[in-house]
Amino acid sequence: MTIADVQDVLKCRIICGEEYLDREVHSACGADMMSDVLAFVKDQAVLLTGLCNPQVIRTAEMMDIICIIFIRGKKPDEDMINLAKERGIVLMATGHRMFSACGMLYSSGLRGGAS
């Protein structure tokens, strides 16, 4: 599926990176602990998180994650948005909770990837 499909499934609001919505994504992970993201993901394209600070963007950068979804309507600040823009990372927000958001994406075909 594409990032645009993800946006559609979760009814996301796009914060930045509209120009990258046609990128393909095959796997995702949901985590609030960035150390867990760094420990267990391999080729994860999408990160769902309730954490909202610049280290979320940095973590995505290190892991080649191309799309971050903030759950429960978390709002990144200007610094975070600029950081994401510089790195070509799509930021989106959804009102869904973590469990529901992950379940909806899984049902739509997104997987957890290799651990």
């Binding site: 960035m34 150390s35 600070n53 280290q55 950068e61």
Partner: protein, 140 residues
């Protein structure tokens, strides 16, 4: 450190929001050099975890990266409190990080274990009250 391209960074200890700048810079440099994505990612993750550790525990420090045709060395040096029990610190899940760090998404006790997992060689030299030096190597 062997011959090769040497990159040096200062990691400021007072600004958590900037932690990761050095690792990000190294990652773009390695990408430009067209190293394999796997190597680039492993270097980035190991260095980033180390950089975060420096900011959380040691009020910053210095990082030296040496890129040779065969391997990449990373030397992270700080003048922090030192690690009382390295063996314990290497256990997944063991953490001495304060709660405010956990609220930021770190402090799960995965830093050093992750660094070990992603590197081919890793050495931790530490003296209480003097500081810690972590040396990591990843073969290309």
């Amino acid at each position: 450190m062997g011959e090769g391209i040497v990159l040096k960074y200062n990691v400021p200890g007072d600004d958590f929001t900037r932690a990761g700048e050095a690792s990000g810079a190294v990652k773009s440099q390695l990408k430009q050099m067209q190293l394999s994505p796997d190597v680039v990612r492993r270097v980035a993750i190991a260095m980033y975890e180390g950089e975060i550790n420096m900011v959380i525990h040691a009020e910053g420090g210095t990082i030296e990266v040496c890129i040779t045709p065969e391997y990449i060395d990373m030397v992270l040096k700080d003048k922090g409190p030192g690690i009382p029990d390295v063996e314990k610190a290497m256990q997944a899940g063991y953490s001495t990080a304060p709660d405010n760090v956990r609220n930021l998404g770190f402090g799960a006790g995965m830093g050093l274990p992750n660094m070990k997992k992603y590197t081919d060689e890793m050495k931790v030299e530490t003296t209480l009250g003097v500081g810690t030096t972590v040396t990591m190597r990843i073969y290309i």
